[in-house]
């Protein structure tokens, strides 16, 4: 597996990336360690059932679409004055101690092959630092990828009793011949009583393969809410995760996807309850058209110390085409009995009675279907507190329906 890539990936390249960002020695070491580890590492887990791999990552031609030294992008990193929104270079300049302490503390760079690859090769990044007690909205990070491959890194550190909303978007710009690869790691460290809302909207072109791992640590009474929208890409492997480490911590993970053509989405929501009185709510809705395929995994893991846990999960998939396929596996792993946990998952088509009713009222079948699909996303849209994000997602869904 790793051999295919190693042929064109060298220590010199990693040193060159590090040097171009004027990085301190420790970060270069971390990169080189990740590079070294590649040989030993496995691809991220995919679900397997007898005779079937739900997603096949091993057949991907990483050597073909990883081009480490020619990364190009356009980036906006903006936020209100009381929050520090920095590029990775600025952050290493102004807050090196903070970055050194937090980098890799939530996602171990050598967790799997793709995290290590991302750590060794990332050339762009954002650090958001919210000081204690600061209440801020509207931090925006826009990434437009212009090269064959792009490795992106994001770190959010929210101080005690702070609050922040971050919206991230990934798109592709200039056309590149052939297949492309986008990889993004997001680490969130939410201190006591802080509140982080992190929305991500992925709409890259359909030649691009994406890997994304987003994980947060929520301390005592901390809250991390994720919104994850996936519309673009040829194939996406994405996981959004929260570890509830402090008493009373909470997390909500809201996901939406809409696949068409031969897109493949492998999306996961995972939460670990590791302290008392924690709460989690996982809500995902997805629509599949044409030959699109979805894989959903939801994990609610309740540790033996997690007394008085509340944990809920819902996943619904709507199939618009007979050629599409929806796979789902919502999992409960419960090690403390003082738990109220549930999950549910459904797969179905547009309700025929609703459709009949609407067409009998003179709505064309196509318009009726579109309205029902937009309606299907409403329970997810309702969970999104940020109006701008909600509107964007709504617009993208509407645009896809009218294609």
């Amino acid at each position: 597996m790793s051999a295919q890539l190693h042929a064109n990936l060298t220590e010199a390249q990693v040193r060159e990336i590090s040097e171009s960002l004027d990085e301190p020695e420790w970060l270069l070491e971390t990169r080189l360690d990740a590079l070294d580890a590649l040989d030993e590492l496995e691809m991220p887990d995919v679900i397997r059932t007898p005779g079937r791999n739900w997603t096949n990552l091993y057949d991907l031609d990483f050597a073909g679409f990883v081009d480490p030294l020619n990364a190009a992008e356009e980036k906006d990193q903006v936020g209100p004055d009381e929050v520090e929104v920095m590029s990775i270079t600025e952050a290493l300049d102004e807050r090196e101690e903070l970055v050194r302490e937090k980098f890799g503390s939530v996602i171990d760079p050598t967790e799997n092959y793709l995290t290590a690859l991302s750590t060794a090769l990332f050339s762009t990044g954002t650090v958001v630092y919210v000081p204690d007690g600061v209440d801020a909205e509207d931090v925006t990070v826009r990434t437009r990828m212009n090269s064959r491959s792009l490795f992106n890194y994001t770190l959010v550190v929210a101080g005690e009793s702070s609050s922040v909303t971050i919206l991230e978007r990934q798109t592709t710009g200039e056309d590149v011949e052939g297949e492309r690869y986008y990889s993004g790691l997001v680490e969130i460290d939410a201190d006591e009583n802080s509140n982080v809302q992190y929305g991500s909207l992925q709409n890259v072109d359909q030649e691009t393969y994406t890997y994304s791992l987003k994980r947060g640590h929520a301390d005592t009474y901390g809250t991390i809410d994720w919104i994850e929208g996936n519309l673009g890409s040829r194939l996406t492997k994405s996981s959004v995760e929260t570890r509830l480490l402090g008493e009373g911590a909470e997390s909500q993970i809201v996901g939406a996807f809409f696949g068409h053509d031969d897109q493949h989405f492998d999306v996961a929501s995972r939460v670990w309850h590791e302290a008392e009185h924690t709460t989690a709510d996982l809500v995902t809705r997805g629509v599949l058209d044409d030959e699109a395929r979805s894989v959903y995994e939801g994990v609610q893991d309740v540790g033996s110390e997690a007394w008085n846990t509340n944990s809920y999960q819902r996943e619904n998939t709507l199939m618009l085409s007979d050629e599409s396929e929806a796979d789902a596996s919502p999992k409960l792993i419960i090690n403390n009995h003082d738990t109220e946990a549930s999950h549910s998952a459904t797969v179905g088509q547009v309700d025929q009675q609703d459709l009949f009713y609407m067409t009998s009222r003179g709505v064309s079948p196509r318009a009726a279907r579109n309205m029902l699909v937009e309606g299907f996303f409403v329970p997810v849209l309702d969970e999104i507190a940020v109006e701008e994000f909600r509107d964007d997602l709504d617009d993208l869904v509407a645009a896809r329906l009218r294609e």
């Binding site: 059932t49 085409s321 789902a328 999992k331 419960i334 009995h337 549910s344 179905g348």
Partner: protein, 477 residues
Amino acid sequence: MSSEQDHLRETDSEKRFEFKKEQNAAFAAEKGELDEETIRLISEDKDEPEWMLERRLRALRQFHAMPMPTDWPSQPDLSEVDVEEIVPYIRPDVDMRGSVDDWTELPEEIQDTFDKLGIPEAEKNALSGVGAQYESEVVYQNMQERWEEKGVIFCNMDKAVQDHPELVKEHFMTSCVPPSDNKFAALHGAIWSGGSFVYVPEGVTVEMPIQAYFRMNSEGMGQFEHTLIIAEEGSEVHYIEGCSAPQYSKFNLHSGGVEVFVGEDAHVQYSTVQNWSKNTYNLNTKRAICESEGTMEWISGSMGSKATMLYPSTILKGRGATDNHITIAFAGEGQDIDTGAKVYHNAPRTKSTIESKSISKDGGRTNYRGLIHISDGAEHSSTSVECDALMFDNESTSDTMPYMEIEESTVDVAHEATVGKIGDEDVFYLQSRGLDDDDAKQMIVAGFIEPITEELPIEYAVELNRLIELEMEGSLG
């Protein structure tokens, strides 16, 4: 609690399953490396036709070629299971080769075993036929004459190989559970012994259930019985399986194989109350193929064993076929009950429902592991899965791992699961009504599984409730 219940508990304690008998074998295969020679010995002792020996040898090769399953997420620990450490075949010392049809013809210790388990008594009252397996061989087999007259066959599997070779050749580990299905199915194919063969001709309804009881008596043995049920068009049958073994310090292995062929518009119900001793690894493969408008029902209670990995599966092959699964799992100290259901919807308008209830306490683990597959073209199919789990303490584990693969859009797929603890308020309420803590919890558990026990024949509902009471007592006292 009422004196009647106290009486029940005194007379019906764990000892009912715990007694051991001296090990009297007429023939036993040596433990050790499982090679062709062992297989030939077993086959020869059974005086089998060449084709069955060939199938055994082929399965043995597959067994050796396949790796142990170790990479399932959170699967039970099977590292102790060393096939070379078990005695694969023991023929008890019964005068008559094959089985007798009169309990009194059996050696006293075997007769006594089944008396204690209450089998002859049940036969008189509520069953159409009974088979009883002791170690590797079926020792007793009987069916009421009126079913025989209608062409129903109920005999032990070894006898079926001799008497009904065409039916067996066609159906035995071919299209339903081939040895290549999994490592333990391959092992089973190599060293299977005993079990039941049931054939119900077209249009015949066997009104009262037929039952098979499997008893392992010897330490360190493996039991590998094979059950083959063929229900022809429009027929109906209910098969009940019970199993137990006394507790030993060394592990025992049970690796049965069950194949059910449900014909057009036929109805088969397969009920199991599994109460293996807590040193037994229960690694079974059970599968049904269901033709159009046929109905398959799996009802399983898993109380015993050290570790169970069992996922009864149904292939809905014909249009309009239906599957129902009902499972109850109870894991106490040291037990890992990993069970569930698999359903393949391979035809239009097929329907499945799965209800699972599990209880874990004192460090036990239950897991619902299930797969629903709806193939492209299985239009207007529907499936509904409901899993509820009850936990007693934070040493225990309760997992739920369903997998859904949906390749068809005109479907209705729903999965729901809940996990919770015994409600303190419910216990408090019952205590305020004069029940002690144990009785209150027992009553809550009985209520929790009631939706399932009410689907069972009354004798089995009672048996299941008793077993659960015994499990509860074990640690609540």
